[in-house]
Symmetry: C2
Subunit: 395 residues, 2 copies
Amino acid sequence: MEKSILHRLFSGLRAGGLEVRYWDGSRGRYGDGETRVRLVINDPSVFPRVFNEPELAFGEAYMDGRVEVEGDLHDLVRLAIVNRDALAGESSNRLGLRVLKSFPRFRSAARQKEDVQYHYDLGNDFFRLWLDETMSYSCAYFKTPEDTLFQAQLNKIDHILRKLQLSPGQTLLDIGSGWGWLIIRAAEQYGVKALGITLSEEQTALSRRRVAERGLEGQVEVELMDYRLLAGKGVQFDRVVSVGMFEHVGRDRLHNYMESVQRLLVPGGLSMLHTITHLKEDPVNAWIEKYIFPGGYIPSLRETIWLLPEYDFHLLDVESLRLHYVRTLEHWAGNYEAVLDQVRAQYGDRFSRMWRFYLNSCAASFRCSGLDVHQVLFSRGLNNDLALTRDHIYA
Amino acid sequence: MEKSILHRLFSGLRAGGLEVRYWDGSRGRYGDGETRVRLVINDPSVFPRVFNEPELAFGEAYMDGRVEVEGDLHDLVRLAIVNRDALAGESSNRLGLRVLKSFPRFRSAARQKEDVQYHYDLGNDFFRLWLDETMSYSCAYFKTPEDTLFQAQLNKIDHILRKLQLSPGQTLLDIGSGWGWLIIRAAEQYGVKALGITLSEEQTALSRRRVAERGLEGQVEVELMDYRLLAGKGVQFDRVVSVGMFEHVGRDRLHNYMESVQRLLVPGGLSMLHTITHLKEDPVNAWIEKYIFPGGYIPSLRETIWLLPEYDFHLLDVESLRLHYVRTLEHWAGNYEAVLDQVRAQYGDRFSRMWRFYLNSCAASFRCSGLDVHQVLFSRGLNNDLALTRDHIYA
């Protein structure tokens, strides 16, 4: 029974090819394209749940090994996404659509408020295994396809700093300053006074040490502080930047972020918002919400831009870095693959599969779905003294 | 009586300085700043109407010579805009705010559907007097402040073509192709096949002549055709561009434009929308609607961007060219000033004052208010083969 439903589902495949090995050892080959990936379904009991709670169930089945993928997991997710319409359109079932929703494309389903915060319990040892030296957990900027991930993360910082049109003596605030690479580089390269704020004690301590090592005390400061608290203090900056923190603000509080930036920015000041975006306003995928990204919300670009005029922010420059995030995630997934045994030994098999599923799904989602990343540059009110062209970014 | 009301109004001035000469020869000096402009009020009867129908009345009073400006008209409008809050905040009157609304900042007031289409009755002889050789009536792109207007208009075309990432053999549609400069340059520089459509017979004839002179028949075509009609024909293009035509679409039909572009664009194709924008959704100023720009609507950037995902358009690049439009308008206003006597002789005093008021008001509005111009680049669906960076625009 289960097999015939699945067979009808997979028969909807239009682009690419898929091999499926069922629990009884039988195989099916679907689609016309080259078969680069095999889905192994070890346990038929998986499927009622996939149809009832699709978002959670597929990811959990993969984590538990009840479903396995032989070949490139990235390819499987890509296959699911590009065949979405064909599969969902099958007269045979609406089940197809529901199963497809189980792939973490950061899409659909009601947010779950479960407090399973694997992410924050992890500590940095885990991320150090597969991130680059800057420990950046956001999209890099590849000037050429050959750039290493480390180089591309430095490029990203430079790209942002150039867009911000800094000049010596100006003040810069980095909301969510991580390990301090951006503020240190801004101080060294542009002579600005920079403040980084973060909610992580470990980041605060390490950033401060790095600032001290470079003799930048007095020019660069790092505070363990919420940006809303800082916004209440009446202090203002010439430039305000945030990289990969807007996704953690939550949909109900996007306007709080904007209001805080308005208060923190001098009139005529520039702000850069670097954030993952959705094409439309979709809730976070339930599996991702539960296991990877609790409490977050990926805003649509358009709802973000809609807010700007409410705070007298004038839009100067928007750039999509979607193809850069595909590369970034492929680097991460590749690095992760190389340390998979170590992750498994240290954190267990289920956990290691969870992150494998996540990183590969994300790479495929940025490549094939409405997931994007944008850099949004705006001024508070008008500024008639800004650069006339964007030449300075590319000089 | 009128004088005391006006005196209270002008006393609200905070930034800059203004001298006023009243109809009885008396003078007032307002504000602390340097007085670079004098408002001459020749006729007290002007003012009841300014308070009742502010948008139309000030412009018409200026056209009729009942109000005159000695010094730089641009400065006067700028003064009005930058003092908007101070003047409107005067406890003395709400009249202040209403008078300020009379300056054409493309703002406020209900649209008037009067059919006074001076603009279209004018013919090209008028525009030829003060536009550059390309006859471009849209924002230029100044690579350096020293660029001539002609050079800057060519730069604008190149800037757009570079953003469109053209390659030989591709097809390009220019909606509202004017005198054909963009399509001809696209064909010559990039080897694309280009179609320009326009609603002007004169533009069609001249563009075709220019195409023939260059031996580009077969590669470049020009048709007298509405874009909606073309969208119904099932033909598709790799690239679709429009420069300064979206403002004429009208608010109720913005979605028709998007739908047409979706139909006209191949999947993965790129489109560039170059348009004047408002910060928020404001109706066109009644004076401008009546005398300059009948039937048009300046969209807000955010409502334009909001529409994109409805047509599966993915936003790649947005650039504000506001400071370029200030320069463009200053060039136009300067050119216009040089031919003012000729315009007066040929079209009459009232007409000559009307356009003088318009061009100077616009320059001030782009400099000081929420009026902007944006280039918006998007793809139909996803395209993973696009350039990784924007380097190609600046190479």
